[in-house]
Amino acid sequence: MTQSAVSVRAVTQHFTVEGQSTVALDAIDLEIPPGQFVALVGPSGCGKSTLLSLVAGLRLPTGGTLLCNGEPIVGPVPQRIGMIFQEANLLPWLTALENVAFPLKLRGVPKRERLEAARAMLELTGLGNFADRLPHQLSGGMKQRVSIGRGLVQDPGVLLLDEPFAALDEQTRMVLGDEVLRIWARTGKTVMFVTHNLSEAVYLADRIIVFSARPGRIVDDVPVDLPRPRTFSMMSSERFGALKDRIWAHIRDADH
C-alpha cells in the first residue's frame, strides 16, 4: 500500500471560548493518498477549516496525530504543504510577482532565483502580464490567482484551499475552479479543498468528506465517480444531482 500524503489519526480539537470548552473536531480519521483531490464540506462551524489549519501546522491538535508523507506535522512545513486562504490575503505593499515569491523570500532564496520561480507561477496561473501590479490594482479573481501562485511556488506536494472562491462571483468561481483542476491535472498534487458550495465540491473532487455540525465528525466519505476531465454539462447530469443530494441530506440533517 502506498503511503498517504496526509494522514489524520484520531484528531480531536477543543477550543475554550470565554471559559467554555467546545469540541470542534471529534476523533477524526482520514487517509488521503497522494494525488487525490478531496473536498471537505459540512455545515458552518463544523471544524473543516480547523482541520485544514491543523494540516497546515498552524496549530497543534488537542489530541491525535497528523502526518504528511508519514512524518508528524508539528509546525508549518511550507515546502511540503501550501496553503491558500479564503481571502487572497496578499501583502498589499508587494507586487503580484513579489507576493508569489514571498514564501521563497522567507526561506532565504536569492532574489533573482525566487523572482524567476514566481514568474513561472504567474504564467501558470494566467497572470504573466500582471506581474508588476499591486494587489489593489487587481480584481478579486486575479488576486486569488496570485494567491494560488504563492501556494504553488515552492512546489509542495499538498495544497490546502480554505474556501478559496467564497468571496468571488459565480463566473469567476467557475473559471478559477477549472483553473485549479488544470493545474492539479498538470502537477498531480494532493489537494484538500474546503468549500460550502456542494456543486463546486462534486465538480472538482475525487472524493468528498462530509462533516457533521459541532462536534465535527466525519459522517460520510463520498467517492465522486464522474469521469475526468470534468465538463460544465456534467453539472446537469443525473449522477451529479444524485451525489449532491446525498451530501445535502447530511448537511440538512445536521444544520439546525
Partner: protein, 252 residues
C-alpha cells in the same frame, strides 16, 4: 493641468500681498500693527544676515530635532508595548488618552522649576508634548496590521523576526510616518511656546522680544521664517508618507 495648481497658488499669494500693500497705502490697515510686505521683505533679508538671529534659529532647530529624536523611539516603543501587552494596555491606555487631551502648556511653569529656562527645558517640554501623539500613533499602527497577513506569513514558515520585518514594519510604516508628522507639528509648537514663555535664546525668544517692543517688521519677518521652515518639514514628511504608503491607495 499639473502646473496650473501651483501657478494659481502663486497668483493667490501675490494677490493677497498686493491687497495688503494697497490697504496699508490707503490707510485701511494700520502700518504700526501690520507693516506692508514691502517693509517686511527687506527686514526678512536683513534678519537672515544677522548672526544672532541665525544662532537663535539654530538653537530652535536643535531643540526641535533633539526633542523629536527622543520622542519618536520612546513614544513608539511605549505605544507598541501597550498594544502588544493587553494587561498593561488596559491600565495605561486610558491614562495616555486622558493626558493626550490635557493642554500641555499648563505644565510650563513646572518645567521651568525643574529644568530652568535653558535648552534642556525646551527639549523636555517638546518631548512631553510630542510623546503622547507618538504613543497613540504606535498603538494604532500595531492595530492596523492585518492579522490574516500574520497568519499567511506563519503558514509560509516565517519566524518571529520575519513576521516583524516582513509584515509588521511595512504594514505599520504609513501610520507611523503619519503620526511622526503630526508629532512634529506638536513638537515645533511646544518648543516655540516654551521659548516665548521663558528662554534665553531661540527664535521664539526673539519673536517674544520683538512683539513686546512692538518691532512689527521684525516680528512678521520672523513669522515668515518659522512658517516656511515648519511647512518645509511637514511637506518633507508628507512626501515620505505618500511614497511609503502608495500601496494603500484604493483602486480608482
Amino acid at each position: 493641468m499639473r502646473y496650473l495648481e501651483p501657478l494659481l497658488v502663486a497668483v493667490g499669494v501675490c494677490g493677497i500681498f498686493g491687497l495688503w500693500e494697497a490697504m496699508v497705502a490707503g490707510g485701511i490697515i494700520n502700518a504700526r500693527i501690520a507693516p506692508p510686505p514691502s517693509t517686511i521683505a527687506p527686514m526678512l533679508v536683513e534678519l537672515l544676515g544677522r548672526a544672532n538671529v541665525i544662532r537663535s534659529l539654530g538653537v530652535t532647530l536643535y531643540e526641535v530635532a533633539v526633542a523629536f529624536l527622543i520622542s519618536v523611539p520612546v513614544g513608539f516603543f511605549i505605544g507598541f508595548t501597550l498594544a502588544e501587552m493587553p494587561g498593561l494596555g488596559a491600565v495605561f491606555r486610558p491614562v495616555v488618552n486622558f493626558l493626550f487631551g490635557v493642554p500641555k502648556s499648563i505644565f510650563l511653569p513646572i518645567f521651568i522649576l525643574i529644568f530652568g529656562v535653558g535648552i534642556e527645558q525646551k527639549i523636555a517640554f517638546g518631548v512631553f508634548t510630542t510623546v503622547f501623539v507618538l504613543i497613540l500613533g504606535g498603538i494604532s499602527a500595531v492595530e492596523s496590521v492585518p492579522r490574516e497577513l500574520v497568519t499567511v506569513a506563519r503558514a509560509y514558515g516565517a519566524n518571529r523576526l520575519q513576521v516583524v520585518r516582513e509584515i509588521y514594519l511595512p504594514a505599520m510604516a504609513p501610520v507611523l510616518l503619519e503620526s511622526a508628522r503630526l508629532g512634529m507639528i506638536f513638537n515645533i509648537t511646544a518648543v516655540l511656546l516654551a521659548e516665548i514663555y521663558g528662554a534665553r535664546d531661540g527664535i521664539g525668544y526673539r519673536i517674544a522680544g520683538w512683539g513686546e517692543s512692538l518691532q512689527m517688521p521684525q516680528l512678521y519677518a520672523a513669522l515668515a521664517i518659522v512658517a516656511t521652515l515648519a511647512i518645509a518639514v511637514n511637506e518633507l514628511l508628507q512626501q515620505l508618507e505618500t511614497r511609503l504608503g502608495a500601496w494603500r491607495q484604493r483602486p480608482a
